[in-house]
Symmetry: C2
Subunit: 330 residues, 2 copies
């Protein structure tokens, strides 16, 4: 199976074995100015390149940082690529002549973790990814929760401060508006504007206020720069509030944390685990284990490939391909 992770600036692809191992890989840059057709050309190039190395590609799973409709194979809304309603699944399926399944990237990664991260026996798994944005997913009894329009798992948009900071979505006070990479950058810049002296080390490392972002903050927080460290401690408080919400409302057996911000500042995972143990409802706290994802950045690729494989196997050889083959729509 071929798994593809289509992000805002990069395509990463991998051939994925039934055991969830990446056996060959490729990547390319993309830019939103490429437009859907340009990105399609890049995806085809990557897919055909990997296929030409003699490996069989019998289906393709595509993880997209977007809201997608898996059933119809459409990218409904990809803010970073500035796409609306692009039938990417059907395009790819027609050109590659294999079944294609589209899925949201963090939902793919959640599926990948459950399937190949060593948690397959887990009846209730929750994943929380903290990158530039914040997202997640839930696997219950071996099924990825979909919701009414495949948007279940948007835990970045749990309100943690009613009437708090403006989010990128229509709400205020979302978890993402405090702990997402973009929000950490914004909070750091506010801090630097208000207290330039305390923020001197961050400003110097960034090379200026405008370049001050989450990467700089997490790096300096690891080095125990007081201002950066304080920002990340506050980040931990909000992330803990979100994690406690997830544990209380979903009662998972396992809560896995991942994403670039977490990787940049692993202390966050520890403070979340402590907060859950202390502050979640006692039975839910006792039932959950908080840990970190195991597939890391390969999660979306491995998850997308597994998901199309699992779909095909569930439908059997004559059970019909995933919907994106050809132009069938529900």
């Amino acid at each position: 199976m071929l798994g593809i992770d289509l992000g805002a600036t990069k395509v990463v692809a991998g051939l994925v074995s039934p055991e969830g191992k990446v056996t060959a890989e490729a990547d390319r840059r993309v830019h939103r100015n490429d437009g859907p057709r340009g990105v399609l050309a890049t995806l085809l190039e990557v897919a055909q390149g990997l296929a030409q190395e003699g490996r069989r590609v019998d289906a393709v799973g595509v993880a997209v940082a977007a809201q997608v409709d898996s059933e119809s194979g459409r990218v409904l809304y990809a803010p970073n690529l500035r796409w609306r309603d692009v039938p990417l699944g059907a395009w790819l399926a027609r050109r590659l002549a294999v079944p294609v399944l589209l899925e949201n990237d963090v939902r793919s990664a959640t599926w990948g973790e459950w399937r190949h991260g060593g948690h397959e026996g887990i009846g209730n798994l929750a994943c929380l990814y903290v990158g530039t944005g914040v997202g997640g997913g839930f696997v219950v009894d071996g099924r990825l929760l979909g919701g009414a329009c495949q948007a279940a798992g948007e835990v970045g948009h749990l309100t943690v401060v009613a009437e708090g900071r403006k989010c990128s979505c229509p709400n205020r006070g979302c978890l993402e508006a405090y702990v997402g990479g973009w929000a950490i950058g914004a909070r750091a810049r506010e801090e630097a504007r208000a207290h330039p002296r305390e923020a001197a080390a961050m400003l110097e490392r960034a090379g200026g206020l405008r370049q001050l972002d989450a990467t700089v903050v997490t790096a300096l927080a690891r080095e125990r720069d007081p201002a950066a460290h304080r920002l990340m401690e506050e980040t931990g408080t909000w992330l803990a509030a979100g994690a406690v919400s997830i544990v209380n409302a979903f009662n998972p057996e396992r809560l896995l944390l991942g994403g670039g911000v977490l990787e940049g500042y692993p202390d966050l995972a520890r403070s979340v685990a402590r907060a859950v143990a202390r502050r979640a409802q006692p039975p839910a706290a006792a039932a959950v284990r908080v840990g970190r994802v195991r597939l890391g950045a390969w999660g979306p690729v491995i998850g997308a490939a597994s998901r199309v494989r699992d779909r095909l196997e569930a439908r059997g050889p004559h059970g019909g391909a995933p919907r994106a083959r050809g132009r069938s729509r529900r």
Copy 2:
């Protein structure tokens, strides 16, 4: 089927038809000083009274305002009754010689709504009950989400104000700590202490500061007393934050609101619906319909009876009774 709702001060029971109608009913007072054996005696009396009227009771579902383990039939923790680990299901099953299934009360009510509230075709249903406490449940593809220890759906303990008001649970800033009946009472008393003149109408209606509770607040808010109205408007803001969280994270097709506080101040449901439409993620907001529960106070009784019926039917005549029959445990 017999459904029983065991609350902190009252037992309400009903014979429930396969269509979810209550065909005979009974109730008794209980007090936590009765102890588990005393409450058991009351439950038996109620059940036998209804059975003696010539109706056949072939199984009993019991909804308890408690954390329960349905599989073993144990009430694990009922703070209002001050019970810990009471094998109520087995006791009842032995004395009544029929299968007994225990369930948490709001989870029962959620099941009842899905089964008999006219939402049975709904793939993703969320219920949010605002009474003295705040709870809820989720039905996904015809199954009540259980979680790791049957605590899924505790949406009253979504954090809506990180580091906010102390909750009755170990967390701070939970939805319940702002909108639960006990919290509305506490907020009103704080307000009355700080601004006794503005709170004069509430204090007079209550007959004193200590008697000022959510019932008084909702009644006066309906009459547009400015202080009570403001308290309930603020309640609406927090409730909206929680509802938006539920819609974003679960992506339900239907979000149903119920419980005593909602019934006491129906404007809350309208402000929640408005907030969800405006502030939830646009696809999730477009996919959900916010409404009110239809079974009202009978929800737990109807739900508990349906749940035991559905369990028995799923297992078939030889499939074994719900676990609380006799002393079998997982």
